[in-house]
């Protein structure tokens, strides 16, 4: 197993248990406030928690926190920016890859080199994803990655994710769209009242309009 979550919990949510093989995707759906983001944040070790997360057998707590997060990067639904231009948010060594990926997801070089504050919501979201993608991590934690994106951009992001999964990356995704889960061939989980339950594929198909 690439990612094993055991009894992950805090005062606010859980306990959560989940297993994810390399190259697989797990999709989590559920109402706002049901604990989906809290779950991903605990996996990324951004919130204090009990329980354990292992990546390829290595427990999170045995690694320095930044090293763990580089392996298990988390992209929040609301992206944060801390430099003037979008490209400044990438390490010098990653900039070439970032430009190529941004172009692939439909963000032009004018936006990539322009002020971060002037990007549209969709452009910001795609570049926030690119920031995590260029790390080439074994796991990706994505909180509504295509929420503000148009169908074309969504298709481009999903195609990229399928490529990464073929290369062994495990993807944990929060999505409101059951069809997205199907397109990514995901195991489907439902978050309700801050607890996670696995859904069988037939029920997912039924839920998809």
């Amino acid at each position: 197993m690439r990612l094993v979550v055991t009894d992950l919990q805090s005062a606010l949510a859980g306990p959560f248990n989940l297993e994810l093989e390399a190259g697989r995707c797990a999709a989590i759906s559920g109402a706002s406030g049901s604990g989906k983001s809290l779950f991903l944040r605990m996996v990324a070790d951004l919130d204090s928690h009990g329980g354990e997360v292992r990546l390829d057998g290595v427990a999170a707590r045995t690694l320095p926190a930044p090293d763990w997060r580089r392996r298990v990067p988390y992209v929040a639904a609301e992206s944060g920016w801390w430099r003037d231009t979008a490209i400044d948010h990438f390490a010098a060594a990653d900039r070439e890859a970032a430009r190529a990926l941004a172009a692939r997801l439909g963000v032009g070089s004018a936006q990539v080199d322009g002020p971060a504050a002037q990007m549209s919501t969709g452009e910001r979201q795609r570049l926030a994803l690119v920031r995590a993608f260029v790390l080439n991590s074994p796991v990706l934690l994505l909180d509504e990655p295509t929420g503000p994106l148009d169908p074309e951009a969504t298709t481009a992001v999903e195609a990229y994710l399928r490529e990464r999964m073929a290369g062994g990356t495990a993807v944990l995704i929060v999505t409101h769209d059951p069809r997205q889960a199907l397109r990514l061939g995901a195991d489907h989980y439902r978050m309700a009242d801050r607890h996670l339950t696995r859904m069988d594929p037939a029920a997912v198909l039924e839920a998809a309009p």
């Binding site: 763990w68 997060r69 944060g80 926030a128």
Partner: protein, 263 residues
């Protein structure tokens, strides 16, 4: 020295200016008159009480008493600093952090002045130690409260930017470096302003007081320069200590941003 002694009548005439502010508030409906009058009354009562207290402390001339007075003044400054931010640390951490910054800055700078430049005999002569600590604490209060307020405000406002970096594996210290710099910088601004304006825009209070009391201007200036250096050092020490301790309290061993430690 031929000090001009003020009569109660002199003060009463000056007090009419405060009444003018209150009338202004009523006329313009600023709704400030109660606060103006209350603050004015409070100021008079506080200062008169302090005057009598100092007279007593000076007469007692005891090291323990001098130290006690300075400690009480420091505690009040620490409390004010901790009370300033909009959202404060839970529990007593704000107070602990502020008190540490205040005590370090005051002990180092006042201690330096008493053992090198001023050298009263004995060192604890309250006539030197207490006013000196009072002036230093004024700057410490300014620097400390600005630093803590800006730091905690930035932490909340920049939360998504800081956490976006943490989530990509950027270490806590790197992700929060601009916040730390900004807070210390803000803490140092008042003393930088004070030093650059000194003599041109404002005549500093101590120097003015000495000149009015009949001191030679050059002697008064030398004294003022020494004080400014002390205040600069105290501001820097307070800002740095408080910012550093607050940064630590805002994180944990897993380099998270712990805004849950704020109220």
């Amino acid at each position: 020295m031929n000090t001009i002694s003020l009569t109660p009548m002199d003060l009463a005439i000056a007090a009419s200016l405060v009444l003018f502010d209150a009338v202004l508030s009523v006329a313009l409906r600023l709704n400030l008159h109660r606060q103006v009058l209350w603050a004015g009354t409070r100021m008079v009562v506080q200062l008169v009480a302090v005057g009598f207290l100092l007279r007593w402390v000076f007469a007692a001339h005891h090291p323990a008493l001098t130290v006690l007075v300075v400690l009480v003044m420091s505690a009040i400054a620490a409390r004010e600093i901790a009370a300033r931010p909009e959202r404060k640390f839970k529990g007593y951490f704000g107070l602990t952090i502020s008190a540490t910054g205040v005590v370090i800055a005051t002990v180092v700078t006042v201690g330096l002045a008493l053992t090198t430049a001023i050298r009263p005999q004995p060192w604890y002569d309250p006539r030197y130690a207490i006013p000196l600590a009072g002036i230093v604490l004024g700057s410490v209060l300014n620097a400390g409260s600005l630093t803590l307020d800006v730091l905690l405000g930035d932490a909340r406002r920049e939360r998504s930017a800081i956490e976006a970096q943490l989530a990509l594996g950027v270490p806590y210290r790197a992700a929060t470096a601009p916040m730390m710099r900004n807070a210390v910088r803000r803490g140092l601004l008042p003393i930088v302003n004070q030093m650059s304006a000194a003599g041109l825009i404002t005549l500093p209070g101590i120097m003015t007081g000495q000149i009015i009391a009949g001191e030679d201007p050059i002697e008064a200036v030398k004294y003022q320069i020494l004080l400014m250096f002390l205040l600069a050092g105290a501001s820097g020490l307070t800002s740095l200590t408080i910012a550093e301790l607050a940064m630590r309290r805002l994180s944990d061993s897993r380099q998270r941003l712990r805004l849950d430690r704020l109220r």
